[in-house]
């Protein structure tokens, strides 16, 4: 059974001058144990999508249309009590900056224990034991010591591991990682990515990894979805996306990654800026920056079509590989 099925999701924020649509017609499915990479530049709506799944949209934001079906239940319509049962339990989330996500005045053990006790009642000793076991699993040395320390006493990589540990405490079936390694050193980033991959493979946990960095994501994902200006412009298996990208934006992203043989050459860029939510152009949202755009592209927005699990929305898709 499909684990997560997002149908035609639309998210808006209410501002003083009226509602602002941020996400348009998002369609996405996820199978149990699958790893999906959600890629896009800042402002593309990828974080909003992740938060919308768990109903954690910041003040003023709400789902204006569509459904988020999780194990058959529509999360967008669920009441707060039902949502609380799912958050941290069936679906867990990891945020970007571990220093900000851990409460600085409370000890780690308290912040870990409450993740468990919010959903089950267990004797204190058992809860502690479970926490230490998970800390071991995510590769934290001397876990008993770290368990009773405060967030500011730990390094960034350590804190993020703890955030991951917290996410794993209740054996969730889905983890949402929102730019989880963006704030860390590159070496730590690689380590954590590797750990996440291993953990998910071991437990069969599904993972949605949100990032602006396509190269990072392609290392662990089974499938990749590319977002632009609040829409999914391309989605498919990772090999397809990387070796045979159809949408010009995806092609541009891949080309922007410095390759081994590109020393001495100018770095490739996608010119221009992404349009802001209130000022979207008519027609294809990417047309203004697209090297292949035609007059038709600027007039009519392309439909999203899918063949063999690889879908995209473009009038003039790229035909052959990564030229």
């Amino acid at each position: 059974m499909t684990l997560l099925d997002i149908k035609n999701l639309e998210v808006s924020f209410s501002a003083r001058k009226g509602d602002l649509r941020i996400l348009y017609g998002i369609d996405l499915t996820l199978q149990p144990g699958e790893i999906l990479g959600l890629v896009g530049e800042s402002g593309s709506g990828k974080s909003v999508l992740a938060k919308a799944i768990l109903g954690l949209l910041p003040g003023g934001g709400s789902v204006s249309k569509g459904a988020v079906l999780f194990e058959g239940q529509d999360l967008a319509q669920a009441d707060p009590k039902a949502m609380r049962k799912i958050r941290g339990n069936r679906i867990a989330m990891i945020f970007q900056d571990p220093m900000a996500t851990l409460n600085p005045v409370l000890r780690i053990d308290e912040q870990m224990r409450e993740a468990i006790t919010a959903h089950r009642s267990l004797p204190r000793a058992e809860v502690n034991a479970r926490c230490i076991a998970i800390l071991n699993k995510v590769g934290i040395p001397a876990p008993e010591e770290r368990f009773v320390s405060f967030p500011h006493q730990l390094s960034g990589g350590m804190r993020q591991r703890i955030a991951i540990a917290i996410a794993l405490l209740n054996d969730p079936v889905l983890i949402l990682a929102d730019e989880a390694t963006t704030a860390l050193d590159v070496t730590v980033q690689a380590q954590i990515l590797h750990e996440m991959h291993r953990l998910c493979a071991d437990e069969g946990t599904a993972l949605i990894w949100v990032s602006h960095d396509l190269s990072v994501v392609s290392g662990i994902a089974d499938r990749i979805a590319v977002m632009y200006a609040g829409r999914i412009v391309e989605c498919g298996p990772v090999e397809q996306i990387v070796l045979n990208p159809r949408h010009p934006y995806t092609l541009g992203l891949i080309r922007s990654v410095p390759a081994e043989d590109s020393t001495g050459h100018e770095l490739h860029q996608i010119p221009g800026l992404m349009p802001s939510p209130g000022a979207l152009p008519q027609g294809c949202v990417f047309a203004a920056r697209c090297f292949a755009a035609t007059a038709h592209c600027r007039d009519v927005a392309p439909e999203y079509t899918e063949t063999n699990g690889h879908g995209f929305a473009c009038h003039v898709p790229n035909q052959g590989g990564q030229i």
């Binding site: 768990l54 958050r87 941290g88 989330m93 005045v105 000890r107 409450e114 993740a115 919010a118």
Partner: protein, 306 residues
Amino acid sequence: MSLIVFIGVFAIGNPIDVLIDPAANQLERDAAIKSLGLDKPMWQQYFTFLGNAAQGDLGDSFVYNEPAIKLILTRLPATLELSIAAMILAVAIGLPLGLIAGLYPGKLIDRTLMSTSILMFSLPTFWVGLLLIMFFAVQLNILPAGGRGDTVNIFGIPFSFLTWDGLTHLALPALNLAMFKMALVMRLVRAGVQEQMSSDYVAFARAKGVSERRIVFRHVLSNIMIPVVTVLGLEFGNLLAFAVVTETIYAWPGMGKLLINSIQVLDRPVVVAYLMVTVVIFMVINLIVDLAYAALDPRARIGGKS
């Protein structure tokens, strides 16, 4: 500080003329001057004063003929009791109200509470005091209009909050004094709550499935207590000083009332004694606030980084 006050008090006017009966003849005047030490040169008087002060002797009050320091210290517990009661009231009422206002920003309750808080710190304390007396004591006749009630001695120091009569006498002045601070606490807590509720760790706690109640009372409250305690600690000194007004209105037998009278009759030793005691209390408060800060914020403790 002491030098300034010393010179100043002397410069105003000749205490001799104030204290010695104008009808006294020259002999009596001379005797009085000698006994009060007012005939020695200024600088000598100052050093004598310092020397005595170091031994805890700040001279005798011109008016009461008792050691000034003793006068102040006997009245200190009354002032402290009033101030502490006021502080407790300010927090007990201000904190919950500020919490409510912060949790429902922009709603009617928030705007009402904020307007009320502006009113509360705009009201001149002494006028509110009069109103309270008029309303509760005169009209409704349920609370006394002034003075201190029955006291109970602990370690020889009288405290009035342990008797019912004492409490009724304490109620109005404490409420009066607390009003200004209450508004301050409300605004502080509200701002703190608003700031914390939109922070990342609250979002993370929600993502863990933690209940809103625990988020507010354990996570958010622990974070806002730090600035609140710090501010309150520093404001306590302010409260002590402002007790002067409340004591005057309610005839509360504390240091403040004594101070006002002493200023009016130029009783130098008492004024100086008051200032000395106040300065010492300030230093103690600062120390306590520092300790409290370390207790509340784990980041502030020495040897934090492992």
